[in-house]
């Protein structure tokens, strides 16, 4: 007499449903994961601002004084800050200067 073959255990409907959801979710999100892990193109990487060292160069070797009362005095330029990082949110500038953007 032969022994009755042991019956393979079948997953329950609930377990099958869980596996189906997990597999579907992985398939759905895998393109985003691949995109996130791939290196950024150089052009995009260059858009992030650098932390630039500011070097004050004291190279004023001569000073020309024009004795003409009709002309205004020396330019009133004052360096305010360097870099955009920092805790406090600065007030927006009045306007911006940049290299001839179209």
């Amino acid at each position: 007499m032969t022994e009755p073959r042991a019956r393979r255990t079948r997953l329950s409907r609930r377990a099958l449903r869980v596996w189906a959801w997990v597999a579907g979710g992985l398939a759905f999100f895998s393109p985003w994961a691949a995109l996130g892990l791939s290196p950024k193109p150089a052009a995009q990487a260059a858009q992030t601002p650098k932390d630039r060292p500011v070097i004050i160069v004291r190279r004023i070797t001569r000073r020309v004084i024009v004795q003409d009362v009709a002309k205004p005095a020396a330019p009133q330029i004052r360096y305010v800050s360097s870099g955009s990082s920092g805790g406090a949110v600065a007030a927006p500038p009045t306007t911006t200067t940049s290299g001839s953007h179209p």
Binding site: P49, R52, V54, I56, R59, P75, I77, T94, T95, H101
Partner: protein
């Protein structure tokens, strides 16, 4: 300070804005805005090399023979030739053949739409000393073309800013693509002007507080259409400049002068810091300036 009044439009291939005292009457501001637009339209018709109907196109087409020009054209040409002499040719209004050879042969909006993949051989520059100007008559050497470039924009900014104040504004700033002029009686503390990072447009590199005069910025990263291809020609080589300076922001009394000095700063490197209030950004990531962080000392 209350939010200033603003009016923006496009001209000379760039965005132009009028910024004015918030306390100015609305009528005066509207009048000034119309005036500023009219000034730019007039100067574009005079100095654009991309328009077949411009005075500059007519003068360039007449190279080799005497051509009659308007008094304003003669004034800007005289100013440009004098700037070329002062800078030993570092500023050169006759770089047009080199600029075209480098690929900047059409309006910039068209240029970036269709990329050029071949660089023509460079053309010789430095023929500004052969340009003849006699009153309202001009003669360019055969084969030479004028390109005022940014100086014409700076010139228009100066005219427009003064005209805006004449229209009844207490103070006005006219900013054309980053070249700006302050006119009138500004607030006691002046204005905070942000300098863009040349490698990250839209991000502030630093700020300057400016009470009068003009600022101009020249950059080799703006108006570039390929590796090493940009609109700033080095007259010594006839090729787009490659001096290790990415961007130069310069203060001067007028915007036209600031434009000339900013170009010179890009071409002569950090030696410009001997003479001119400026902020330079180098290709290796440094910022060089002669404006003192600690004492706010202003170089003369």
């Amino acid at each position: 300070m209350d939010t200033p009044r603003r009016h923006a439009f496009r001209s000379m291939g760039t965005s132009v804005s009028l910024i004015a005292d918030p306390g100015s009457p609305a009528q005066a501001f509207e009048r000034a805005a119309r005036t500023v637009e009219a000034v730019f339209a007039r100067e574009d018709l005079r100095f654009s090399r991309f328009r077949g109907d411009s005075e500059l196109t007519r003068v360039n087409a007449g190279a080799g023979r005497w051509t009659r020009v308007s008094p304003a054209f003669a004034r800007l040409l005289a100013y440009s030739l004098e700037a070329a002499a002062r800078s030993d040719g570092l500023f050169d209004p006759t770089v047009l053949p080199s600029l075209i050879a480098a690929g900047y042969d059409r309006d910039f909006d068209e240029l970036i739409a269709g990329a050029r993949d071949a660089l023509h051989p460079s053309e010789p520059c430095g023929r500004w000393s052969e340009v003849e100007l006699d009153g309202d008559l001009v003669r360019l050497p055969a084969g030479v073309g004028l390109d005022f470039g940014g100086i014409a924009k700076g010139w228009a900014v100066d005219l427009a800013a003064r005209a805006a104040v004449d229209d009844g504004l207490r103070w006005a700033i006219v900013n054309a693509g980053g070249d700006l002029r302050i006119a009138g009686a500004p607030p006691r503390d002046g204005f905070e002007i942000a300098i863009d990072d040349p490698e990250a447009p839209g991000h502030e590199l630093s700020r300057l507080r400016v009470a009068r005069g003009a600022l101009a910025t020249s950059s080799v990263t703006a108006r570039a259409w390929g590796p090493g291809l940009h609109h700033l020609i080095d007259p010594r080589t006839g090729l787009p400049a490659d001096t290790g300076i990415l961007q130069a922001t310069v203060w001067a009394r007028t915007c036209a002068e600031a434009e000339i000095l900013a170009k010179r700063a890009l071409l002569s490197g950090s030696s410009i810091l001997d003479r001119v209030s400026s902020v330079l950004v180098t290709g290796d990531g440094r910022v060089l300036t002669n404006l003192d962080l600690a004492t706010s000392e202003v170089p003369a």
